[in-house]
């Protein structure tokens, strides 16, 4: 019946699963389903260690996915994160390398370690600021802007490393962060970073005004502005956060490998986008969740590692990824349309 419903209780009794929950559950079940299927076909797949590896091996992409997800929900792309990973890693190495070696690639700025890290982070955030400037101020489509800044970031990294890598003359403490074991377990700091980041992101998304504003801005920017939301400021924050996350990821990776490599993080921006799309985030904005993105990452990880386990040549990975994304998006569109019929 379509008579207005009067009481509180009636309204809440009538609450249906939201589309958001529905899609997230769908994605989660696909992830688990795929894992079970892979367990049947791939030897030794169904092991606790393997399950953990699916997550921990992908800490970098999942972390980047957080920033990318928020931006997608707000209706904007961020393709610059892979480039920023390379840039901040290379910067942290270059800043920390001691001065005065005869080899140009061994000679850095000799800054104290912590200053080097902060400098690298600042470099990353500067790229985020550039993104925000062009998207918000000059109103250039974000996909174009961030494609450009991705190349700018990687280009700077390339110049600093002369197209190769820097890995000598580093202070002893340089390698610590990336391989630090936390709480006396085998858990590495980067994984802990990802975990905390996910928790914080979910909290912000579900519980904080900031998260809600992201949905409003993405769902209808005109209505958001006319409702008193400062879209420009919000999107600027999102780009800065996303760049900062990418900066930290770059620093941690360069510490883990004890090198600054201009090709590090290559195509990571696409993987981050792919897991977000797999996770049910709408490219048009206003819809999606960090948890969905997380399960999207699991789907991708299961597909690629199962392929490796089945000794499919890595050459097939692109096609597999493409297929997974394509199927996922078709399935989600279909599911939502069916549900809303």
């Amino acid at each position: 019946m379509n008579v207005p419903i009067k009481t509180n209780t009636a309204l809440s009794e009538n609450r249906r699963l939201s589309d958001q929950m529905y899609i997230t559950l769908l994605v989660a079940s696909v992830a688990i389903g795929l894992f079970l299927i892979a367990s049947v076909f791939v030897p030794n797949f169904f092991q606790l260690q393997n399950m953990l590896n699916l997550v921990t091996n992908n800490w970098a992409v999942i972390s980047l996915g957080v920033g990318v997800t928020f931006l997608l929900v707000s209706g904007n792309f961020d393709l610059s994160v892979g480039g920023i990973v390379a840039l901040s890693g290379v910067l942290s190495v270059w800043f920390a390398q001691s001065i005065g070696s005869s080899n140009a690639l061994s000679s850095g700025l000799g800054l104290p370690y912590w200053v080097a890290l902060l400098g690298a982070l600042a470099g990353a955030i500067a790229i985020g600021g550039l993104n925000a400037l062009f998207v918000v101020k000059f109103r250039i489509p974000s996909i174009i802007v961030t494609l450009g800044t991705m190349m700018v970031a990687r280009g700077i990294a390339q110049v600093i490393t002369q197209g190769s890598q820097r890995n000598t003359n580093l202070p002893d403490e340089f390698g610590v962060l990336g391989s630090l074991k936390v709480f006396g377990t085998s858990m590495q700091l980067p994984v802990v970073f990802m975990g905390l980041l996910l928790l914080a992101a979910i909290f912000i998304e579900r519980k904080m005004v900031f998260g809600r504003i992201t949905y409003w801005v993405g769902a209808n920017p005109v209505a958001a502005r006319l409702s008193g939301i400062d879209n420009a400021k919000h999107i600027t924050y999102l780009y800065l956060f996303s760049a900062a996350i990418a900066g930290v990821v770059g620093i941690l990776l360069s510490s883990e490998y004890q090198s600054g490599y201009s090709n590090r993080g290559l195509l990571m921006e696409f993987d981050a986008l792919v897991i977000a799309l797999l996770g049910g985030i709408a490219i048009a904005g206003g819809f999606g969740s960090v948890i969905g993105m997380f399960f999207g990452a699991i789907i991708l990880a299961v597909v690629t590692s199962a392929a490796t386990g089945l000794t499919l040549s890595p050459d097939w990975q692109y096609i597999l990824k493409a297929l997974a994304v394509f199927l996922a998006i078709v399935a989600q569109t279909w599911a939502l349309a069916r549900r809303n019929k």
């Binding site: 379509n2 207005p4 249906r16 005004v209 949905y215 005109v222 008193g228």
Partner: protein
């Protein structure tokens, strides 16, 4: 007479449409006679739009049959319906901003042979129809440069010139001013005399009485009655059939108005406005009335800081007009002209739509207060009688009038002391209208000020204490509302009548 033997042009037999949790249309049967204007009325959410979407193939009925001229009719798409001679004007605008007026008018009607467009008299016909409704629209203009009302007119012209034998119009006049409505009526009458049948949906009952031959009433998805309008005694009977009770609306002068000026605007000018100055007092309801294009929306947006404007706007002693954010912080809220594109987050739920204009009340050190949100949403669903099966319903799935109520709820929740309401009751049924008017009066009695920007004279005269009359961007005159306002004088002024011969 031969017409007696003719089967009805359209007959609807036991149509049902179910949505999850809602039976939007419940076993409706009636027939529509040829060459008549058949009106469809009912409260918001009664199922009018849903019913006509099934007639035009945009939705499939869950059950039931339809016949056209006695032959079974089960359209699968709007294209398919048009091939059967049924054209529609939907409640939501469907014009393509990037195309020209002419291209929009012929969109989907182009004749093609072997994939090439062929020239026909189509262009000629649509240009003529457009000119007879609104001569001021240039067929070569880009649609994006037109106002909402003008876009609406394009849609009307498109349907009217499609050569269909049945044309369905869902609230075509919701954003038109009296003059355009008159012109539209002339076109509709002309179509009728040419043998076209028009199914006409509107909440403006005077239009129904002026235009209709037959009326069908829906209530809660059910068919209440179909009868000739000649047998209807008048407005009260229509209202009674629609909502089962009677409502009145007439202005009662409000006394003890304060003299304290809360907002003063001086010399507002931009590409639309010409040196507009006025004051709004505390606790007052002021109206801005004028034809489409007179500058009502522009004034509202300027006061709210949504558009740039020269001149000064002072609210409670402080300059405003910089940005909507600033306006809201100062205590000004706006219900924008177009609910779907400017007011609502259509892919979010009712609950998620309401709190946006008052984040201070919704949060506690940045933490969102879900409980406050829930109770606010429940409160407004109740107060504004938003017809919905759930607080979690996406606003795109609400009926037009109920969407409008959600936008209003958003704005009321802002607790602003000056409300700018641009066409606040567009698409809202008579019963709900009076309730909204009561809410506006109560707000004003509590000391808030309300500015109503409306192209419905009845609305302005019904609630406003003072009315500003606008003509092509300038403020022509100010009248105090009361029993002896001269309506002819008002109509004369808003059509440029007091401009002398130069106008």
């Amino acid at each position: 007479m031969t017409t007696q033997q003719q089967p009805p042009v359209l007959s609807i037999e036991g149509i049902i449409k179910d949505y999850p949790g809602v039976r939007a249309v419940n076993d409706v049967s009636f027939s529509v006679e040829s060459s008549t204007v058949h009106c469809l009325i009912g409260e918001n959410g009664a199922g009018k739009s849903t019913l006509i979407k099934m007639i035009t193939g945009a939705l499939l009925p869950s059950q039931g049959n339809m016949k056209i001229n006695g032959a079974p009719y089960a359209p699968t798409s709007t294209q398919n319906a048009r091939e059967n001679g049924v054209a529609t004007l939907f409640q939501e605008l469907h014009v393509v901003d990037e195309l020209s007026v002419l291209e929009n008018l012929t969109l989907g009607m182009e004749q093609s042979r072997f994939g090439f467009l062929i020239k026909s008299d189509l262009e000629e016909r649509v240009i003529q129809t457009l000119a007879s409704i609104e001569p001021s629209i240039n067929p070569a203009a880009r649609v994006s440069s037109l106002s909402v009302a003008q876009k609406q007119i394009i849609e009307i012209a498109r349907a009217a010139s499609s050569g269909a034998s049945v044309i369905i119009m869902d609230e075509p006049t919701a954003s038109l001013s009296e003059r355009e409505v008159e012109r539209l009526f002339t076109v509709i009458r002309k179509l009728r005399s040419q043998g076209v049948t028009v199914i006409y949906i509107s909440h403006k009952l005077d239009e129904i009485i002026a235009l209709g031959d037959t009326v069908t009433v829906l209530r809660d998805g059910k068919h209440i009655v179909t009868k000739p309008l000649s047998e209807v005694s008048g407005r009260p009977e229509l209202i009674d059939m629609m909502i089962g009770r009677c409502v009145f609306e007439s202005y009662t002068p409000r006394n003890n108005l304060s003299e304290e000026v809360i907002l003063s605007a001086k010399g507002l000018s931009n590409n639309m406005l010409k040196n507009v100055s006025f004051e709004i007092k505390k606790g007052e309801i002021v109206g801005f009335y004028g034809l489409v294009g007179a500058g009502k929306t522009e004034i509202a947006r300027a006061l709210f800081g949504a558009d740039e404007v020269a001149g000064s706007i002072v609210f409670k002693g402080e300059k405003v007009g910089g940005s909507p954010k600033e306006a809201i912080a100062a205590g000004i809220a706006l219900v924008p002209e177009e609910r779907r594109t400017q007011g609502l987050f259509t892919n979010l739920t009712i609950r998620e739509n309401i709190p946006v204009m008052n984040l201070r009340r919704m949060s506690n050190n940045g933490i969102f207060r879900a409980d406050a949100e829930l109770s606010a949403a429940t409160h407004y669903i109740d107060q504004l009688r938003i017809a919905t099966s759930s607080i979690e319903k996406h606003t795109e799935k609400l009926s037009g009038g109920n969407q409008q109520k959600v936008v209003l709820a958003k704005c009321l929740f802002s607790k602003a002391s000056l409300l700018l309401l641009d066409e606040p009751t567009r698409g809202v049924d008579v019963g709900a209208k009076t309730e909204i008017y009561d809410i506006i009066r109560n707000l004003a009695d509590e000391g808030n000020s309300v500015a109503v920007f409306s192209s419905e004279l009845e609305e302005v005269l019904g609630i406003c204490d003072r009315i500003f009359l606008l003509y092509t961007g300038s403020l022509e005159s100010e009248i105090i509302n009361g029993p002896d306002v001269d309506i002819n004088d008002i109509l004369n002024i808003v059509t440029g009548g007091n401009r002398g011969v130069t106008a």
